[in-house]
Symmetry: C2
Subunit: 364 residues, 2 copies
């Protein structure tokens, strides 16, 4: 559909939505203005996964990746899968302050959602993984998460004939298909399918201005005019850039723990202290608690903190309610998958090892 047609649709929808006590033309103008501003800042989630330049998405690779994603045997204990912390049935998160991993250890940061993560410029709160392939290799090895090693993981996969066959099918050109990197590539391909199109806001962006209520449109307007969209923009309303948390006023140490320097630990560059990737706001109503510290459970509170910390503004309750109403329109169609039947172990499969070697402190 061309931009011209979108505009025509918007005008039509605006006429339908206009309230009788107001002049039709004034409402049209306001409606169009909000829509035009929104289109300048945001894009809808596409209906299909994006093309991964270096990792073509194929059906055998996605099916393999789905198995790996849900297979707890990628962890040393045999108990923790990708899905444990990025639960597909719970908007791609674990709804925990910070994730609990191997040996019931508490991780350092709140688990970001896997949904639409493929649209982020980089992965993890500090952007230390350039894509989902690189990301997938992290938690498998992290002592506080899955506590495995690449060697043991590959030995586990190699021990199961069905996995070997599936890697051969998914990486047909590879001389050595069962590798830790190909495991991560398959997981990336699967994760790239975990997108949530068709939110009410996306229908709005596509021209159906009736998809948002007046209160939600007011929230959108506040979101745009208040400056939220400076960081939370693009297809993911976030995930596209790095910003200091506390640019106007530093939040409480509970919300911004002093020991977690964020992107500074990656770049070691002055000025990157307490810098984090702006998280996506897609499906945000489903992914409490909020911030990398995960201590804020109410979306209203998170919005208020953003107001003071990032915008230098004390938002009033009506403004907060309007922004929260708008954020609720960012919930899209959740991914539908079949639960995979996992390959059976063989005698060569390493036994689950639930023992904890050493507890690790909570700050990275």
């Amino acid at each position: 559909m061309s931009t011209r047609n979108y505009a025509a649709l918007a005008v039509l929808a605006g006429l339908i939505a206009c309230q009788p006590q107001q002049g039709g033309e004034a409402v049209d103008a306001q409606t169009n203005e909000a829509l035009q501003m929104a289109r300048a800042a945001f894009e809808p989630i596409p209906d299909q996964p994006p093309v991964l330049e270096d990792n073509p998405i194929t059906a055998p690779k996605v099916e393999l990746g789905k198995m790996l994603y849900l297979d707890p045997r990628l962890s040393r204990s045999g108990l923790i899968s990708c899905n444990t912390c990025h639960n597909i049935g719970m908007a791609g998160v674990d709804v925990q302050v910070t994730s609990i991993g191997h040996g019931w250890q508490s991780g350092p940061r709140n688990a970001p959602t896997v949904l639409n993560a493929v649209f982020n410029i980089a992965q993890f709160w500090d952007g230390r993984a350039e894509d989902l392939e690189q990301q997938a290799m992290g938690p498998v090895q992290a002592a506080v998460e899955m506590s495995n090693t690449p060697e043991r993981t590959v030995a586990t996969l190699m021990s199961m004939p069905e996995y070997v066959e599936r890697f051969e099918a998914a990486f047909a050109d590879a001389t050595d298909p069962v590798t830790f990197e190909n495991m991560a590539r398959a997981i990336e391909a699967f994760e790239a399918t975990l997108i949530t199109p068709n939110s009410r806001f996306d229908r709005y962006l596509k021209g159906d201005v009736t998809a948002l209520s007046d209160a939600e449109t007011e929230g959108l307007r506040l979101f745009l005019e208040g400056g939220c969209a400076s960081c939370h923009n693009g297809v993911n309303l976030g995930g596209a850039s790095y910003h200091p948390f506390g640019v106007r006023r530093r939040p409480d140490p509970g919300v911004l723990p002093p020991g977690d320097l964020g992107r500074y630990a990656v770049t070691r560059m002055e000025g990157d202290e307490y810098v984090f990737k702006a998280p996506t706001l897609r499906n945000v109503e489903l992914t409490p608690p909020y911030f990398h510290s995960g201590v804020v459970w109410r979306l209203e509170d998170a919005v208020a903190i953003m107001g003071t910390a990032q915008l230098g503004t004390e938002l009033n309750p009506e403004q907060i309610a309007a922004v929260v109403a708008f954020l609720g329109t960012l919930t899209g169609d959740q991914p539908q998958i079949d639960y995979p039947i996992l390959p059976p172990r063989s005698e060569a499969t390493p036994l689950p090892d639930v023992a904890v070697e050493a507890r690790v402190s909570a700050v990275p």
Copy 2:
């Protein structure tokens, strides 16, 4: 299909399967004898779930039960679901020696499979739950498993409008639909659908004697004539009766820990020491490790221990291999489910509580 028709099919299939170097009539007679003996001892898994007298299986109830089964918020931590220990993608078990629960505590016994569990006379290794409804209420409350309380569980369910609606739909006649008992009923209804028909052995029982190889048929014959079927019989090849473990010779204390008295803890009756429910052998090749202690990883070793402990027989390697080959024919079609999108939490939903109050010793 009548018994007569089954027999006619069996004769036909026997003729097709007979080997050229043997006399056709002799093979027919042997084939028929094994099949007749098998039919006297076993039944195939039906294609449809059984009728639950006190808990009609309806689509809304099964869908609700599936959500509950996969919802980690039934646990105090928000991390452990029924599926954690009874993984639908892993033949209904966790492939752990004993299950790991709240606070990474180790449970006392190996997790029995949920697959076909509806056909067992009772649940748990010691039969202390009369059905899956009663069973489902146990792990939710067990301190070493999900560590929740009925009150907190109901408060969690009541806090989510989608759950309330689904309970109302599933229990339309109830004045108080959201209860701990109805939670268990919904889980039972879902679990009753987790059956694995169409194993090669079931096709054999239905008259296709070519479904088993000669070695597998020899294993079946040994299984029947050696006495295995005295305990492992019926539709589940087990799950139907209680027996002392070590009736002929007591196994090593590692395999039969002296502190776990089995059914005696339920009945307090003399003679019930070390008595356990004979486990189902359906899908047994997929459910290591074996026995209530879960210390035996190889099916060959489990069969050998059964020979000495229960039959007073030192099975030779060929006999063990034949029985194991037969057991491999008990793997049926694994259940196919869609991963449910779980109801979103509300502000009233109790927060996840990962703290461990007190560690519990491993023996019940």
